[in-house]
């Protein structure tokens, strides 16, 4: 897919309330380019709530249901049920933050996945409750400063894509705002599949991660290049690395993780020990992925 082939139309209007350099509004913009105008959007409480602007106006051109923080996957299930019974067939897309996904929305999400509802759930992961002012979420990475983890978060980042893959749904993918075509391709693929699709979008947030607004993409790219964030998809149980992550299985191909950490204020005061744990976790994740790929290879050749 080439940038030039992308939809010229915009589905989120300029002059909205996002911070300068916002990955959430960018993510939404890219979704619009993937799905066009025939889709219904569900948005729980999050930065996206504010970004839309205030009644009686909205920055969003797609029909959108704002819903309570914990309720997006269920509300989307309801829309999908109504469309089915009324003989309509638009993609129903949830666009939710990491808090609304990994924490308070997890139960509804897991339930909808188990029921294999025909919806596409996209989590933009800015790794904290940004809308309420940078409190930790379960998706906040180990070691990161937030206003409720002043000395850095003690626990590991919850691996939501892995948890969702454990639900045996037809499609799970990770993506990054720094790799728009990769993301758009995944969304396009997802909405064609019947059943529950989950896409986890890495969304570096200048406000919460404490980096200058022009670095949103750069930080996102560093996350991928250092191997901190891995781009992959799991289609019917088969895992595939995508985009630049394809070439990063070898540790030597990856940039040093410190480059990623250094770019952000929230990781300013990490001790060496914590940095080491942080890196070890990433190593472990890559090893796990390497193993799975090996096995898949093994199986497909035998």
């Amino acid at each position: 897919m080439n940038i030039k082939d992308l939809d010229r139309e915009e589905y989120i209007l300029s002059g909205n309330s996002s911070c300068p350099g916002c990955p959430a509004s960018l993510g939404f913009r890219l979704i619009g380019k993937a799905v066009g105008k025939n889709a219904i959007i569900v948005i729980p409480a999050s930065c996206m709530t504010i970004i839309q602007g205030a009644y009686p106006n909205t920055a969003l051109i797609l029909p959108t249901l704002n819903i309570a923080f914990a309720a997006s996957a269920a509300a989307a299930s309801g829309i999908s049920a109504a469309l089915e019974i009324r003989g309509k067939n638009y993609p129903v897309i949830v666009y939710a933050g990491d808090g609304g996904t990994a924490d308070i929305g997890l139960q509804a999400l897991s339930g909808a996945a188990e029921r294999n509802e025909n919806i596409t759930y996209i989590c933009y992961d800015n790794e904290a409750y940004q809308n309420t002012g940078i409190q930790r979420s379960s998706a906040t990475p180990y070691g990161a400063w937030t206003t409720t983890t002043l000395k850095g978060k003690q626990e590991r980042k919850k691996d939501v894509p892995k948890i969702m893959a454990s639900h045996n749904i037809p499609y799970v993918a990770t993506a990054s705002v720094a790799y728009p075509t990769d993301f758009i391709e995944k969304v396009k693929k997802a909405i064609k599949i019947k059943g529950f699709k989950y896409i986890h979008l890495h969304a570096p947030c200048p406000t919460g991660w404490r980096f200058p607004s022009e670095k949103t993409i750069e930080v996102g790219r560093l996350a991928v290049q250092t191997g901190v964030w891995i781009l992959y998809e799991i289609e019917n149980g088969i895992l595939k690395l995508t985009g630049p992550s394809k070439n990063l299985l070898e540790k030597s191909a990856r940039k040093p993780v410190r480059e990623y950490l250094r770019a952000q204020g929230r990781f300013q005061y990490l001790s060496d020990e914590i940095v080491k744990n942080f890196c070890d976790d990433i190593e472990e994740k890559w090893n796990e992925i390497g193993m799975i790929l090996n096995l898949q290879n093994h199986l497909s050749t035998t």
Binding site: I3, K4, L6, R8, E10, I12, L13, S14, G15, N16, S17, S18, P20, G21, C22, P23, S25, L26, R29, L30, Q52, G53, A54, Y55, P56, N57, T58, A59, L60, I61, P180, P206, P212, S213, E214, K215, T216, I217, E218
Partner: protein, 83 residues
């Protein structure tokens, strides 16, 4: 008719003319631009306007001056200057 439910209709500038938010302004150097549209796809605001011929223009009324376009332009065709 009375609007009973809280339904809102699309409108540009829900947060006002967000151009005022800038402290720096992206300036395009058309000479250097190779029309790769990287700035267009990355602009969080949609304020890089894509023309028919894939040349670009900046919508200063709403551009918040984040600097992403300048930072990402592979041709260094966009410069951020103090307002």
């Amino acid at each position: 008719m009375k609007r009973v439910a809280a339904i809102s209709f699309p409108s540009k500038g829900v947060a006002g003319k967000t151009g005022v938010w800038r402290i720096r302004k992206p300036i395009l150097d058309r000479q250097k631009c190779v029309k790769c549209l990287i700035c267009w796809i990355y602009c969080p605001e949609g304020t890089i306007l894509r023309k028919e011929d894939d040349s670009i223009e900046i919508d200063y009324e709403y551009c918040k001056g984040c600097g992403v376009c300048a930072n990402e332009c592979p041709a260094r065709a966009i410069m951020m200057v103090e307002e």
